[in-house]
């Protein structure tokens, strides 16, 4: 309902739940606190956003753009330091330049040089300059090919997420049994090579899930029992992670309401995100360790079910289910590689006596005070403490 409304009004769903103002003010606070030596009047941020909404939005957008660009720079410098192909190409160029420089300065000296040596160094310089031309050409074409992906700011993961988002996280073609390779070929036109590989992997998983748990059966189950992955496990006999993925892939308007999903690998890096207005999953940066997603990793194979709410928000609680299970097939004497899934749906008032876990998006914009998992101080003025 809310999502439909947001769609019709062409606004971010969070604006309807939180008000445009709150999202804007949070961005402004973040901009102020991440700028070294900022003298912005944080105590008057409401007034600023209220009196100059246009300027305030511009500032918040510029801040978002800077974050994206910083990310690109980080990616690029990472590449400089770690990309073996680039290191190899630069090494080749520097070696050639060294030889040319050395030989050229020998020839350039006023001292007499034996004509034989002179010829040799002339020939070396000639050969090396041809090599240099060749290696610089290949370096340029390598950088051009790679540059496209990096300039989009996006990690390959982000490109894939954008596609899923664009398709509403639901692929009727795969539900109807189309091969994931064929669909990937249709969708991947503008993607970088890395993103193509990730997209194909994600679509294959989707197709396997759809084949194991046909849409009609899942819809029937949620109509009876709501978005409960364990009910799906009981009815259809699948593992809980697959049940969660399947629930998060239902078409808009499914009887159980919207279902969000976050998947992370064993290092905690998010590999899939489907946020809900009630539960934003940030694109960059570190998330909140209190999300059930992360405790699940320390309790492998146990399905956690928690009522979770973002600290400082009015309402907007979700029911979150999380499980960590091996992502790889078992191998003798090898520890399995785990991954964790967390599925969440909006939930009304609390069930009898259950506590609601107060979580955050990320520490800097979290209002929870006395948080045992706080990593860095919050920007939210007096609401939150300034440190653990």
């Amino acid at each position: 309902m809310l999502l439909d409304l947001a769609e019709i009004l062409k606004v971010e769903p969070s604006m309807l739940t939180e008000g445009a103002e709150a999202a804007l003010i949070a961005s402004l606070r973040e901009a102020a606190s991440t700028t070294r030596g900022s003298t912005a009047e944080l105590d008057r941020v409401d007034e600023f956003a209220g009196r100059f909404p246009g300027w305030a939005r511009l500032l918040a957008e510029a801040r978002g753009r800077i974050e994206t660009l910083e990310r690109s720079v980080e990616t690029l410098s990472d590449r400089l330091a770690h990309d073996p192909q680039l290191a190899e190409a630069l090494h080749e160029m520097l070696s050639t330049v060294t030889a040319i420089r050395s030989a050229a300065s020998i020839l350039n000296e006023p001292e007499e040089i034996d004509p034989d040596w002179q010829r040799r160094f002339h020939r070396n310089i000639h050969e090396d300059s041809a090599r240099l031309a060749e290696s610089s050409r290949s370096l340029v074409s390598y950088l051009e090919a790679e540059g496209k992906a990096a300039s989009e700011s996006g990690t390959p993961q982000e490109e894939v997420t954008a596609i899923f988002e664009g398709e509403g996280y639901h692929f009727p073609a795969l539900e109807a049994g189309q091969a994931p390779e064929a669909l990937a070929a249709e969708l991947e036109a503008d993607l970088s090579d890395n993103a193509r590989a990730l997209l194909l992997r994600a679509l294959r998983t989707y197709a396997e899930d759809a084949a194991a748990l046909p849409l009609a059966a899942v819809l029937e189950a949620v109509a009876a029992e709501g978005a409960d992955p364990l009910a799906l496990v009981r009815r259809l006999g699948c593992d809980p992670a697959r049940a969660m993925r399947r629930l998060a892939a239902l078409p808009a308007g499914a009887p159980c309401g919207p279902v969000g999903l976050a998947v992370c690998d064993a290092s905690g890096a998010l590999t899939f995100r489907k946020p809900l207005p009630e539960f934003p999953v940030p694109r960059f940066g570190a998330d909140c360790p209190l999300w059930p997603l992360f405790p699940a990793l320390s309790r492998p194979m146990t399905v956690l079910s928690r009522r979770v709410q973002f600290a400082g928000r009015q309402g907007g609680a979700v029911r979150a289910f999380a499980v960590a299970q091996p992502a790889s097939l078992p191998q003798a004497n090898r520890d399995p590689i785990f991954e964790a899934h967390m599925m969440f749906t909006p939930e009304g008032s609390a069930r009898g006596g259950e506590e609601t876990e107060q979580v955050g998006v990320t520490c800097r914009i979290c209002a929870r005070s006395g948080c045992p998992a706080r990593r860095e101080p919050s920007l939210l003025g007096d609401v939150a403490e300034r440190g653990p």
Partner: protein, 127 residues
């Protein structure tokens, strides 16, 4: 007797240029291009100075340096390392392994000569 320099480097035209400028200084220069057999070569050659490239086929200059420092016969040998990556991380690794001097490519011939001369004359006060 002229001083003896062993140059371990895999780039033929760099070998030629360095050999030329050092020979002209009156040094006896011997060269070797393979990383895996570098330490063997070194034990047979007894040089007064080793010029060692970091990126060699078969074995890295850091490994060669570590091994020669562990051998009492070459533990005190002056070693000049050449690298195409002048990053502080590389310098730090070389220093940890006990390099005597470190030079990043592309270097000037005069730089090379100055460094070689000062290494052959030993550290100041020790000459």
């Amino acid at each position: 007797m002229s001083k003896h320099v062993l140059l371990i480097e895999d780039e033929p035209n760099i070998i030629e240029a360095i050999s030329f400028i050092l020979s002209r200084e009156g040094l006896a220069v011997e060269t070797h291009s393979d990383g895996t057999t570098a330490n063997e070569k070194l034990r047979g050659a007894h040089p007064d100075l080793l010029i060692l490239d970091v990126m060699l086929p078969g074995k890295s200059g850091y490994d060669i340096l570590r091994e020669l420092r562990a051998d009492p016969a070459t533990a005190a040998l002056p070693v000049l390392m050449l690298t195409a990556r002048g990053q502080s991380r590389d310098r730090e690794m070389a220093e940890r392994e006990g390099v005597s001097a470190f030079m990043s490519k592309p270097f000037a011939n005069s730089e090379m000569l100055d460094t070689v001369r000062s290494l052959l004359n030993g550290p100041p006060g020790n000459a």
